[in-house]
Amino acid sequence: MPPDASRPRLSAPFRLSPLAARPLLAALALLLMFAVIVWREPRAASYLGLRLLLNFSIPLMFAAFAAMAVIVLGDIDLGLGPFIGLANVISARWLAGNPSLAALLLVLSLLAYAAMGALIAARRLPSIVITLGASFIWLGAGLLILPTPGGAAPDWLAALLRLHTPFVPLPLWLAVALALAGQILFITSPAGVVLRGFGGAPEALIRAGWSLIAAKSFLYGLAGAFGILAGLALTGINTTGDANFGTPYTLLAIAAVIVGGGEFAGGIVSPPGTVIGALILLLSGALLSFLDVSTDWQLSVQGGILILVLALRALLRKRDAHAA
């Protein structure tokens, strides 16, 4: 290599890096969507309006965080939705009548998730295959527990999700809390650096003496924990259980991570962005109905948002490559 080609790049402290700009762009898009909704229906900006609008954002935000914990490794979790469904039916069937059994089963399923991470790391298996295989196990277990929709939510869980929080409804407080906690755990803390490092260059981390198995067990375990929270939230909101309730969350959660600035590979995620991404995908349905478009189009719109985000990103990357 000729020596001149390798002159070091000078610092540019005032330029916002494109990666950091992504969650901001997502936030702008979210505000724009919300503005349109309020313009069509001013009551949406009230406490009660927000609460109705954002009711189902709680399980989606939890699911998105579960997906993020796996995507940060460069893995994909295709079993998340059925797993959420499993947590939903376990809690709907037993949490009210036999809480210790429900807790035991939920803890076991969490451990199973962590073990799946350890297996993927130890045998260097493709996550996409293992989690897809596991998805049938979660769904099957869910159907065994509740062959037909039913069960009930314990009163405390339903009450918790209806909690009247000061100033803004619960989902918004939760969004802020998740964004902050995620930012600390994944981005600013030294441990988060290591976790993201495993998504960027696992070999470099192994050379520095870190354990891939420990990292993957932890992150898959974290994904399991968020999956269970999503399942519990579903139980609390719906006050019933259905093994198929969770299924759409698999792809919605992944989409939320990507819309919020994450990448499928390379250890790039943004926890605040993921929260925003989840809200964007949730509001896309409401936006349609306020614009008098049939909600049949919701899936297409969600897909369209994803394609738009990825296309814009590719465009920006091209521009960056030209500028460099």
Binding site: P2, S6, P8, R9, V193, L205, R207
Partner: protein, 493 residues
């Protein structure tokens, strides 16, 4: 050979009888080496001499199969691992960078140094990193908060080097630098070399691997030569000349000569590729009809890139410095990645390049396909029960025969071979070279890139590459390993 500690002081670390095997290959066969504290020791050797394995063992990323790793009289070999090596003050700058591209310099530093934690860790680490970068490279200002994937190769290398020398918790005892100067710019490389004495004052020993002999002679105190997994010599740098260094790396073996008379060279030039040259080196790579031309040098110095340029030109890319006369075929030694269709049979793998020729009314003619496949299976003695055998049932050498047969079946005038004998056993290699010589005798031009010296003996002429430039052109009659090594290390005869 046992290294005697230089300078009288006790060595910081002493390796004794280190053996490391990968399958059937013995990468290290009983290496003993003492590394004195606070000096720079150079490690020299050709590709595959075992340097990288030795470095990985020192860094704790590999554990030796046998032997002792002695530090302050204690043998650590049984529980040797990266964490322990780190705890004892050993840091390694690997040749392929080991930074995470998605993390910034500060974050990458934290990955190596677990002690970094607590409030304000970023600010403190950034200050320390900046200071260390300043000490080593002077004024170079780097963006330490930008993901390193977006920085230049040189900047990344500087960050990785500074990370290794960082005094956390104390200055390191041993830093291993594996070809650090090849991706740094000239200025930064010079700064790094001038920094070494300062590191020694902190008590840091350095192992320095480089292919630039001048650097080694001026900046290292001891020089260790490796070859075939063994240490061949250890000397004070002051006693050595560049020629002496080359001799350290290889016993000056006489070239294996082949007494078989080859068809006389014809004059028609089939391939010509203009390349920059080192002083005394040729200015272009020329290959004529009925000639086998070798591309040699250390791995990754422009040989493969040249073959790919030739192939791109054959595909119609505009390349003003390339002239080609005839049809071109390309065979890679990287079978799984770019050669074999793993689910297909031997026959289909062999004829896939001929689909256009073996059609009848727009349909593939199975009979013709079979005929061609059988013909080439016989000519190259592919050891397969039949052409219907799945290709993966064959040994690596026989798979490679199929790939070469595929290329030859297309009747090219020019055959580009990219390290084609990788992982092929000696017997099969011999058969393949016999085939290649036959094909050359029929007028084909063959360009062979290989890192194995023994294979170059089959070439009529060998071009030696160094950092993308031509260092030497060695005719078959004048070929010997010493001249090859000399040119590979940019010291043209």
């Amino acid at each position: 050979m046992t290294g005697d500690p230089g300078g009288g002081s006790a060595p910081f670390i002493r390796l004794e009888g280190i053996v490391k095997r990968f399958g059937a290959i013995e990468a290290l066969r009983g290496v003993s080496l003492a590394i004195p504290p606070a000096t720079t020791l150079a490690l020299l050797g050709h590709n595959g001499a075992g340097k990288s394995t030795l470095m990985n063992i020192l860094a704790g990323t590999l554990r030796p199969d046998r032997g002792a790793i002695l530090i302050a009289g204690e043998d650590h070999a049984a529980h040797w691992q990266a964490r322990r090596a780190y705890g004892l003050g050993i840091r390694c700058v690997f040749q392929e960078l080991s930074l995470c591209p998605n993390l910034d310099a500060v974050e990458n530093t934290r990955i190596l140094h677990r002690e970094i934690s607590g409030r304000g860790w970023r600010r403190r680490t950034e200050a320390l990193l900046e200071e260390t970068l300043g000490r080593i490279f002077g004024g170079a200002k780097l963006d330490l908060r930008h993901p390193v994937g977006g920085l230049s190769l040189a900047a990344r290398q500087m960050i990785e080097i500074a990370r290794a020398f960082l005094p956390i918790p104390a200055p390191p005892r041993l830093v291993i630098l594996d070809e650090p100067t090849s991706s740094l710019g000239a200025q930064a490389a010079e700064a790094l070399l001038r920094f070494l004495p300062e590191a020694h004052r902190d008590g840091t020993a350095v192992i320095f691997i480089s292919h630039r002999l001048r650097e080694v002679l001026t900046h290292c105190r001891r020089v260790v030569g490796m070859r075939d997994g063994e240490i061949t010599a250890e000397r004070d740098a002051a006693e050595l000349t560049p020629e002496g260094l080359v001799e350290l790396m290889g016993s000056a073996r006489a070239a294996a000569t082949s007494d078989e008379a080859r068809a006389k060279e014809r004059d028609r030039v089939r391939v010509s590729l203009r390349l920059p040259s080192l002083p005394g080196g040729p200015s272009a790579l020329i290959a004529r009809e009925a000639e086998i031309v070798g591309l040699a040098g250390l791995d990754g110095h422009g040989q493969r890139a040249s073959l790919l340029r030739l192939f791109a030109a054959a595909q119609g890319a505009r390349m003003p410095d390339v002239r080609l006369d005839g049809r071109v075929a390309y065979v890679s030694g990287d079978r799984p990645r770019e050669g074999v269709f793993p689910l297909w049979t031997v026959g289909h793998n062999l004829t896939v390049g001929l689909i256009r020729r073996i059609q009848r009314w727009g349909w593939l003619s199975a009979a013709q396909e079979r005929e061609i496949a059988e013909d080439w299976r016989g000519r190259l003695q592919v050891r397969a029960p039949s052409i219907a055998t799945p290709i993966l049932a064959l040994s690596g050498g026989n798979q490679q025969k199929v790939l070469i047969a595929r290329a030859l079946a297309a009747e090219p005038d020019i055959l580009l071979l990219d390290d084609p004998m990788r992982g092929v056993d000696i017997g099969t290699k011999r058969e393949l070279f016999a085939v290649l010589r036959d094909e050359a005798a029929r007028g084909r031009t063959i360009l062979l890139y290989t890192t194995e010296t023994e294979e170059l003996v089959h070439c009529d002429r060998t071009y030696v590459f160094f950092e993308g430039r031509l260092a030497d052109e060695i005719p078959r009659a004048a070929f010997n390993e010493e001249r090859l090594l000399r040119a590979s290390f940019a010291h043209a005869a």
